[in-house]
Amino acid sequence: MRHVGARFEITSDPQRVASAKKIVLPGVGAFGDCMANLKDRGLAEPVKEAARSGVPLLGICVGCQILFDNGEEFGQQAGLGLIPGAVRRLPDPLAGGDNTIRIPNVGWRPLSIATSHPLFSCVTEGTMMYFVHSFAPVPMRAGDISATIEVNGIQAVVAVQNGSIHGVQFHPEKSGPAGLALLRRFVELN
């Protein structure tokens, strides 16, 4: 955040979340743990309220997954319900296929961009970002899809947007200059 010129603080204080101008929701680990932690610290409601009132929100990796209604990692778990849809496991490699990707999907993958939103204005088609995940969002509305990657025969959704609520499955903070550019765009969004 410092590198892209943001004024930021790392917090788990619901009040700070409630008064934030923008929110980044990072996440590593499992969907269920992430949601449990948010709820335990009283952060789930402030995040939802802020997002619903138009405060720009960027969820990263598991932070993107929990934006949805539910996820199936370790059984059905409820998410924040900010974007309609679910989170599903990626398909396993196809036998004998050329493009087989082992799960977890670890490494750099080229994005297919499906949006003209300013957040992606600096990301050209085919730009590679760094992924490490076994699950991906399945939005109910095609209009919420910002970017996809090909994984074992399907187009997995890896970036979503609903109004001022954004989510990216990849790690922009680990994706070199391309990822930093996206973070910078988020910081600069009105």
Partner: protein, 252 residues
């Protein structure tokens, strides 16, 4: 074909990056933070820092290297060497590492892999294996930076480690490392057949051709290089260009 990750492997001794030359000893090749930053700017996909003498210098040394690097290096970083407890893992991650590579501690106590994976997630836990060939299709896992024998069969070990939660396997050929004569392709292939998690090949690259040959076998998800980068034999942009020209997809 999914892009092959190119990883820079920095073996660290005290304040320096060193490179073991087969049968000759160690050579100092530069300063860790400078080299890592330079590789990042040239387009390396990931960086692995291996502390080769963790017990002698204490862990703080490599952690301060990682901390400094994390300030302006924005690709995944893995730290290995002397990671023995979950506390060590916490410290490594807090310094800015995304993953830890575990070898000796895991061989002595395989449950450590499970503990680390449960606490931090499998994606953080890389099993590092130093493999010494003992016969056709048979390798022994060495520990303590290649100094100690174990009687542990590499192929059985990687499968066990995956079950315990290791998210990636970093497989280094002890026989080929530092020789610059190429990878032990049979070792890499054999490991890949035993596991379903990503495999990082390490040990032996002496030219771009070695990397290309291995990449074309599609047995590695990632290829770690040391000598060819540290000695400038195959600078990153040239290496990636040659890989692309040979039909191997890489991140540009």
């Amino acid at each position: 074909m999914p892009p092959v990750r190119l990883i820079a492997r920095l073996d660290i001794k005290g304040p320096n990056v060193i490179k073991g030359i087969h049968l000759e000893g160690l050579r100092i090749v530069g300063k860790p933070a400078e080299m890592a930053r330079s590789y990042y700017e040239q387009g390396i996909d990931e960086i692995i820092y291996m502390d080769t003498v963790a017990s002698l210098y204490g862990r703080n040394n490599i952690l301060s290297v990682v901390e400094e690097a994390a300030r302006d290096i924005f690709v995944p970083m893995t730290v290995g060497g002397g990671i023995r407890t979950t506390d060590d893992v916490v410290k490594a991650l807090r310094s800015g590492a995304d993953k830890v590579a575990i070898n000796t501690a895991a061989v002595h106590r395989p449950e450590f892999i499970r503990e680390a994976a449960e606490m931090f997630g499998s994606q953080c836990v890389v099993l590092s294996v130093e493999a010494k060939r003992r016969g056709p299709g048979h390798w022994e896992a060495l520990t303590d930076n290649g100094r100690e024998k174990t009687d542990v069969d590499v192929l059985k070990w990687v499968a066990e480690a995956e079950q315990l939660g290791a998210g990636e396997i970093l497989i280094t050929s002890v026989d080929m490392e530092g020789t610059r004569k190429g990878f032990d392709a049979e070792l890499i292939r054999s490991v890949r057949e035993r596991v379903r998690v990503p495999v990082i090949a390490s040990g032996g690259a002496g030219s771009a051709a070695h990397v290309i040959d291995l990449a074309r076998e599609r047995t590695s998800d990632a290829i770690a290089c040391a000598s060819i980068l540290h000695y400038g034999t195959a600078p990153i942009s040239a290496l990636k260009a040659e890989l692309a020209a040979a039909g191997v997809e890489v991140r540009s």
